[in-house]
Symmetry: C2
Subunit: 331 residues, 2 copies
């Protein structure tokens, strides 16, 4: 299989709930006005806590610094696994499950933090630019690694100078098992023809920028049954949307499409306290048992928490699996 | 004829060119999300100097005070002339020309300032609430006057207590003839089905919020040939748009409609210096000679200047008329 290091240098940011309206102007530009921006990688995810915005440097320029904007200090690079024709995987599962053993587990073992961003089209594994040498060294046995540069794919191999330099993380991982929350909403993972984006503009603007009644942000603590979660990504011209069925009803049914099976997904939210960006192995903790059971999963990291989406019919077994995991680990 | 005092209490405001993006959130709500606001009277006009926003008190609540927002101190009430079937006017002219002699001239004589807002559908004559008694007294000979209140039209007559109280303006008017500018652009006055507003949302957002390259605001002084002028109004559910043919080309041709004759209009911009709100007779100065010649005209006041739109084929005679007017008045 091939692993591509994509030609985007990304920032991971967070906009506060009350601060979003101050960023309406740049965000609408980034979402709808492709001719006015050179941003090629844009992701906006609303959670009860805040809005996580992941975007390339061209997009990041649009966000004026303010008290409402938090910026993670690193440059992140998106990795993308491409199954070429002769991939021998017999798994029918999609999403992070496919890459759990080949990418996520090895990176966790090397103490490389990852920020996952699943979309309708593919799964992006974001790693810090400074970890790139360790990433290449770790994954080059399993993958042909290419670096995308100006539209070309250039083969990458670990350099001798990298060897041993940073490969210092082979001690036993400190395992923290984070509490999980399993809200009641059902989610859809959808896409649409980017040319029809204007047709859903007012609905999308309404949902993204105007659907929070004042003070609603705090309501997740009182009402854990359903969670506010909405994700929009526009990456290299492809649109992906993750929303619950309640939000979906606001959109015209004929423009958004999902996979032919029309699956619904349930969410496992990871983390009782904000996770931060330095802990490793969080994705692995969830994706490993899912891979063992061949259960598909999307995985979306945000500024504060991680979110796995699993098929509705698997949520009971996933819940049991996670409960068993908690028991296995000494506190 | 009937004159209706409409049930809207309006504020006249101005947003600076550089400040517009800070008002993207409330303005998009007022333009596109009718379900989220109780604002029923909204008008936004871009000129080279600023954005003039006229809106009712429900809409005004959405605009947070800031250094970018100027607010005229008065409450303004919109008047609307309704030609009932038996109106004997033989004029084919439309717009302010129809009301030049019956409304605009008498109010000017009484030193009542008016703020004109022509739309595709009708012409609104805004007067200050404090001038209402004078307005009623001045116009009641010519009109049946009604006040709209909660959907009903209530007949209004001048009260004895008003008589003589404020009718103190019969001295000779001090006439200032303001310089005019006649830019080269051709304008269209258009409407669209409000239900199709979402279909032009991204284009309208692009034109309104993103079409100013930095520093462009000053360019009117260097390049007087074409003027930046774009007006959007959403009043009682009716949409009206005034834009030049260059802006028009950005919109889908099948959604916007204009009168069957598809006329193009030329602009006469009144005022070399910002006009302010207290001078009377500015509209009358333009509309009187147009009415004498039975030339149609739309008229749009903004925070700094006034703008008359006359049919393209009449622009030469209008220009000559205005030149003659300048010569008639001693400097």
């Amino acid at each position: 299989m091939d692993l591509h290091i994509l030609d985007h240098r990304l920032r991971v940011t967070s906009i506060s709930k009350t601060g979003l309206e101050h960023y309406t102007h740049p965000l609408i530009k980034l979402i709808f006005l492709r001719n006015r921006t050179r941003c090629k990688f844009f992701s906006l995810t609303e959670t009860p806590e805040n809005y996580t915005v992941v975007l390339d440097e061209e997009g990041f320029k649009e966000l004026q610094p303010s008290e409402h904007l938090l910026v993670e200090g690193s440059i992140w690079l998106p990795l993308n696994v491409v199954s070429n024709g002769n991939a021998s995987s017999s798994s029918q599962a999609v999403g992070v499950t496919k890459i759990a053993k080949s990418v996520i587990a090895p990176l966790a073992e090397q103490h490389v933090s990852v920020f996952m961003l699943s979309t309708y089209q593919t799964d992006f594994i974001l790693v810090r630019e400074k970890d790139l040498s360790v990433v290449v060294e770790t994954l080059e046995e399993e993958f042909n690694i290419f670096r995308e540069e100006g539209g070309e794919s250039v083969p990458v191999q670990s350099q001798d100078t990298w060897k041993g330099l940073q490969r210092n993380g082979r001690e036993v991982m400190q395992v923290t098992v984070h509490p999980v929350l399993i809200p009641e909403n059902q989610f859809c993972v959808m896409s649409l023809d980017p040319d029809t984006l204007p047709a859903i503009a007012t609905t999308l603007i309404d949902v993204l920028f105007y659907s929070n009644s004042p003070g609603e942000g705090a309501s997740v603590n009182q009402d854990l049954e359903c969670i506010k979660f909405f994700s929009f990504t526009l990456i290299d011209g492809y649109v992906s949307l993750v929303m619950d069925t309640e939000a979906q009803r606001q959109f015209p049914a004929d423009l958004l499409f999902t996979s032919s099976s029309g699956e619904l997904w349930r969410m496992v939210r990871i983390g009782g306290q904000p996770l931060g960006f330095d802990e490793c192995g969080i994705v692995a903790q969830i994706s490993q048992p899912l891979a063992d059971s061949d259960i598909s999963a999307y995985y979306i990291s945000t500024f504060s928490f991680d979110h796995a989406l699993v098929p509705e019919e698997d949520i009971v077994s996933v819940t049991e699996m996670l409960q068993a995991q908690r028991k296995d680990v000494p506190h």
